[in-house]
Symmetry: C2
Subunit: 246 residues, 2 copies
């Protein structure tokens, strides 16, 4: 379908068509499409823009990744579809490993998502051959690699469900979530929650890496002063303000 550039929701319609295409290609799951719609609704309520509190959380997340011994980015179908190149860039400049983890896991889909990330520039993608398990979650999402998720001390989980976010925390990891719903279980459980759309969040994170790489005191102070609960509250207030504006 050709979307007119005049349509009030042009950008979001184009992304929808991309996801629909990658669903047909077997990369994005059908329930992943529904999850994207949920995100769209919250982003709409947030004004489809990065709010100052999200920008703060993005810097804090980068600070955690730079402080980590084994930082890792967990990638699912929607993330691979929406911003594969940005994920690769972030993984290179931190540097952080990439592991693919799918809610609806089949060998075929695993291969597709891993191959897609490689086609988009990833030199090494973990996840095809799991040799470990993450405790506390049912389904094949628990499958992971020793070298990747099992060993990681800081895990960035863009677009994650509550069960897995909680399991990662119970395994003792610092969890950095990107989630447009400030009330979700993932948002509430995570160490740092970025309430922002993933295609805006990752580039913002990339932008803050250079400064935080050299300025150790800044990154430590970002971590020590950050209050995730207070930050989430600001996102909620922003949504309410926007809702009542009309």
């Amino acid at each position: 379908m050709v979307v007119s550039k005049d349509h009030p929701r042009y950008r979001s319609l184009v992304i929808r068509e991309l996801l629909a295409e990658l669903n047909k290609a077997g990369l994005v799951s059908t329930t992943g499409l529904i999850a994207h719609g949920r995100g769209e609704a919250f982003d709409y309520l947030l004004g489809e823009t990065t709010n100052p509190n999200a920008l703060e959380a993005e810097s804090v997340a980068v600070a955690y990744m730079l402080e980590a011994k084994n930082p890792l980015i967990s990638v699912n179908g929607n993330v691979a579809a929406l911003c594969p190149r940005e994920i690769v860039s972030l993984s290179e400049i931190i540097p952080a490993k990439i592991e693919v983890n799918l809610f609806h896991r089949t060998d075929e889909r695993m291969e597709r998502v891993c191959a897609h990330m490689e086609a988009m520039g990833a030199k090494r993608v973990l996840g095809r051959n799991p040799d470990a398990k993450l405790n506390g979650i049912a389904s094949d999402r628990s499958l992971c690699t020793r070298e990747g998720i099992l060993m990681a001390d800081v895990v960035l989980v863009p677009l994650e469900d509550g069960d897995r976010a909680e399991a990662l925390l119970h395994a003792g990891k610092i969890v950095l979530a990107i989630d447009l719903n400030p009330l979700s279980r993932t948002s509430k459980a995570a160490t740092v929650t970025i309430v922002d759309e993933v295609t805006r969040a990752i580039p913002n994170m990339i932008d803050s890496v250079d400064e935080l790489k050299t300025d150790l005191s800044k990154r430590r102070s970002l971590i020590s002063t950050f209050d995730n609960k207070a930050n989430l509250k600001k996102s909620v207030q922003m949504i309410c303000k926007r809702l009542q504006k009309d």
Copy 2:
């Protein structure tokens, strides 16, 4: 996938799986899945329950349908997937015609959605052979039948996009919308907006038909006293209250 009944979002997960299945069967479009996700997010914010203001709008909508000369229910892929039997029941007791109208229209999908409605009990489904056009919208959504949408004076549009809702209004029709986003263009444009989930809204409407069929003064007073803008405002306030509860 088997969904555990203990899961906090059991009902919504089951509906997701149903839509994913009907997407594979060619009934629900891929962008329809994303639209469903948007609705899910708003329903979550509304507490996944019918609020008193939604119940009021449901009665008013039924009153309008009973007062109409040519009431019609417009059905798309998501509506046919989510509550086909309820749509058939409502169409029988009002009585109202049913016409299928698809955003992503192909002859094949038209046939599937019409046949699905017939398999679910609809005796007559319009839309397969359009012989008229609704002015003011691009794409094949404008195709309709003279006997159905063109002639209708009151149209119930569950899950409609803003362009079509506005085109129906410009054609001089009373538009009754079911839309979980109280800020959407459809919600703002409609004569009556029901901010409720469609599988709850249609049964509620059915429940109010008997009384309103006999009580003419009640149905006229419902219509004359209803203020759509004020009703929408109440839904917005309800969302904000819920957001700030946590």
